[in-house]
């Protein structure tokens, strides 16, 4: 059970966003800008970074939600698994691998990102904006993962829920409805 009274039927972050609307507004706007705004990184790549950081933080709700979203955007069900297992061997670009190294460091601490990490990424063609966005997406998910788990919000176990949620995040982005997702297997 969640640590605070959340409206029944609202899973994970959605119940928290409804619990306090004035803090939800900038969080949702920031997420929409970072995940769906102008950026040289594709939506799928951004969702992959969000999934990987959430996975490292062991936040089940965020990992499953963004994994399902990335799978839709990549049109591939296997890339995320291979990234979680060992991203160096995953079928992704060298640039994205180098950005995942930065994301992995950010998950531990901002201070662990080194000049060498940044140089590697720039050598593979990453721009300042891509590095900035990778750092900020990773940092934002360190917020989300702590918010969701720190208040013990409800984490559905049924994969069907996350498929429906992914459809919503692909079609509406992050400033759409927060109404409960009705799903059945």
């Amino acid at each position: 059970m969640a640590h605070i009274p959340i409206r029944e039927g609202l899973a994970g972050i959605t119940g928290l966003l409804e619990y306090r609307l004035d803090s939800a507004k900038p969080i949702r706007e920031l997420t929409q800008t970072l995940m769906r705004g102008d950026s040289p990184l594709s939506f799928a790549e951004r969702e992959l970074i969000a999934t990987y950081v959430s996975f490292l933080n062991e936040c089940t709700f965020c990992t499953k939600a963004h994994e399902a979203t990335a799978q839709v955007l990549f049109e591939d069900d296997t890339i995320i698994d291979s990234v979680k297992w060992n991203f160096n061997k995953a079928p992704i670009s060298d640039k994205l691998k180098s950005l995942l190294i930065i994301a992995q460091k950010i998950q531990q601490s901002g201070k662990s990102v080194t000049v060498n990490d940044i140089e590697l990424s720039k050598n593979f063609g990453a721009t300042d904006i891509e590095i900035h966005d990778t750092v900020l997406i990773s940092s934002l998910f360190c917020l989300y993962n702590r918010y969701v788990d720190g208040l013990a919000s409800w984490t559905p176990e049924d994969d069907g829920f996350y498929k429906k949620l992914a459809e919503r995040l692909v079609s509406q982005g992050y400033t759409g409805t927060t109404e409960p997702i009705v799903h059945s297997e």
Partner: protein
């Protein structure tokens, strides 16, 4: 030197806000809502939580700037800030805030380690659901801000005296960009 081409004369998060104004706006609004808007936690208490989490994350810019803002709010009780930086708590804090700092300290490490007992302890000492929510979200938000500032190696003045005026402005005006 910062990892990306930011304006060199601006410190910490300000240089990052100028680099990407689209993301700056909601981040400033979030900080303002959490630390400066109406709440049953005083602005000084909220700045103490922000300072504590930033110090645990070893983010010098956020620690020194929010410590300065907390001191500006707390005035005669400013020594609380030094206590919290030293030991994570202070004899001068209310029992409720001590319990909330324990929750904040856990959130800094990972959301999953906050227990039912931690939350019950805070509630028994008078913390409301909203205060628990806000404590968790402030701690989570600073887990973001700290990583953003240090992950891009933004310019960090090292002397606490460089932050006094900044902290006074933060305490007085909050976090919306003054240019707007």
């Amino acid at each position: 030197m910062a990892h990306i081409s930011t304006q060199a004369d601006l410190p910490g998060i300000r240089s990052l806000f100028t680099f990407r104004p689209e993301t700056a706006k909601p981040m400033q609004e979030l900080a303002h809502v959490l630390l400066h808007s109406d709440s049953t936690l005083t602005p000084g208490e909220r700045e103490i939580i922000a300072t504590f989490v930033s110090s645990r994350n070893e983010c010098v810019f956020c620690t020194l700037s929010h410590a300065a803002a907390a001191r500006a709010h707390l005035k005669d009780d400013a020594s609380i800030v030094d206590d919290v930086l030293q030991s994570g708590s202070s004899a001068l804090l209310s029992d409720k805030l001590k319990a909330l700092l324990i929750i904040a300290g856990k959130v800094q490490k990972g959301g999953r380690i906050v227990t039912d007992e931690d939350v019950a302890a805070a509630k028994n000492l008078g913390a409301t659901d909203m205060e628990i929510h806000d404590t968790v979200l402030i701690a989570a938000a600073f887990s973001m801000f700290n990583r953003y500032v240090d992950g891009l190696a933004s310019f960090t003045p090292q002397n606490p005296s460089d932050y006094v005026e900044m902290g006074e402005k933060m305490a007085l005006m909050g976090y919306f960009s003054p240019s707007k």
